[in-house]
Symmetry: C2
Subunit: 281 residues, 2 copies
């Protein structure tokens, strides 16, 4: 496995691979890898000749009061995990390389960025869409892999790729969970042991929602109320949103039918966690 | 010469060309071709194996009160001219193809879009950057050609290509003028015969500015004042801006030194015309 830090070198490598008729699978990450990331790598490995992973904590997707500086980083551990999962190239650029002096171009997916996390994190999805557009141009993948945990991010990227006619396929892979059901996230590292237990309210609330829907509950408000109660049962929690929306357009839905996404964002102490479940009725 | 209207067909054609090791030169236009466009084609022909021209009057770069509907169109004449200048493919998509229902992704080059034409045409360069980003993904050119007449557009596109790491070269070709000096533009077709004469004030003002600079005038305000007088000498004219700026960042400059762009936008009757000259001191 090789680590490339230069954009030009990465582009030249990608062009060489493409000219030789091989395919590139791409897993963009912010590092501090967990089994969720590695499940994307394994799928990329199955689908493509070459797997490129990017590790880049993207400053422009963090708000001024967010955790850009303290976001966990560990290139050494990441490299070992990436190599053993079958990554061929880690693309590991610096912020200065990605956003040189006078940088000023941004990509925005207007509608899908408005809802859910977009409400409390203005500019977040603009930062995500911009960096991913850049990474797609640098890595030239045939297929790019994203996790369903960041459901809105996946929807934004899919839409961007379609709207800007970027000729690649976006594959969204299922959420990977800890044995007790907590969705894997690099930010779980922030949780103290008691908070780690409290954090289970996210998946408990989602399980309750699925249960209610399976028992034929059609009223979204009723379901959200039950979820709210579960999350509020631990004092360390603070709900940012609990939403039941159509999975394609991320717009609120009152009645449970079609492709539904149930999503929530909750702070446990200072740690912002998200989780979701997709369900088809 | 072939006319392609489908995005997918154009992408497949471009991929085939690239796989065969040939290069693609790309001339994006809004049609109603004149010698300015054809000079781009001839340069593209010299530099590349295949020349693709797009003809697309891009709705999202026109303001609500602008001339999108009446913008001149003549595919038959354009095809004949393009073919005889050596275009291999005309890419001619519909608005619906380029902006299907639920389209919502935009590319913005923030700083360079603010000045000059950006002041009176808010959203114009966002529309330009967006459509060109799409066209680059569809046509996959090695080199793309733009005219210096739209100096700000060229600066915006160059910056976008650099910022988003689009691996292509942007070549900007000199302004082509009518025998009497009027910069060629599809919008010249709007001018009545007396307006056509009045329109010469743009190039007269620029010539005066160059003359003053050659005579060692360093004061930008003085030069702009003289230009203003020349343009105002015909009653049909209405100045939108007369600017002396640094050519790279398009920011106002007080003193004439380095790479300077002298640019103006003037309405002659209802027709908005632009012209400019680059000068190095």
């Amino acid at each position: 496995m090789k680590i490339i830090t230069s954009i030009k070198e990465m582009q030249q490598y990608a062009s060489r691979i493409k000219r030789s008729g091989k395919t590139i699978g791409f897993v963009p990450t912010m590092g501090y890898l967990h089994q969720g990331h590695l499940s994307l790598v394994r799928q990329a490995k199955r689908d493509n000749d070459i797997v490129v992973m990017s590790i880049f904590v993207n400053p422009i997707q963090f708000g001024p009061k967010e955790d850009f500086k303290k976001y966990p980083r560990d290139l050494k551990a990441d490299s070992a995990q990436a190599a053993s999962a079958g990554v061929d190239i880690i693309f590991y650029p610096s912020s200065k390389t990605m956003y040189p002096k006078d940088y000023q171009t941004y990509v925005e997916v207007v509608e899908l960025s408005k809802y859910l996390c977009g409400m409390s994190r203005p500019g977040h999805f603009k930062g995500v869409a911009t960096v991913v557009a850049k990474l797609f141009n640098i890595v030239k993948p045939d297929i790019a892999y994203f996790g369903q945990k960041d459901a809105q991010q996946a929807a934004v990227i899919k839409r961007m790729a379609m709207d800007l006619n970027i000729g690649l396929k976006v594959k969204v892979m299922p959420i990977v969970r800890e044995p007790d059901g907590l969705a894997m996230s690099s930010r779980n590292a922030y949780l103290s042991p008691p908070q780690r237990k409290d954090a289970l309210v996210l998946k408990n609330a989602l399980q309750k929602a699925v249960c209610m829907i399976r028992s034929d509950e059609k009223n979204a408000e009723k379901i959200k109320l039950c979820m709210r109660k579960i999350v509020n049962s631990v004092p360390s929690s603070k709900i940012e949103y609990i939403s039941i929306i159509d999975a394609a357009f991320l717009r609120d839905t009152k009645e449970i039918k079609g492709n539904i996404l149930i999503a929530l964002a909750v702070r446990i102490g200072n740690t912002r966690l998200i989780d979701n479940v997709k369900i088809r009725i």
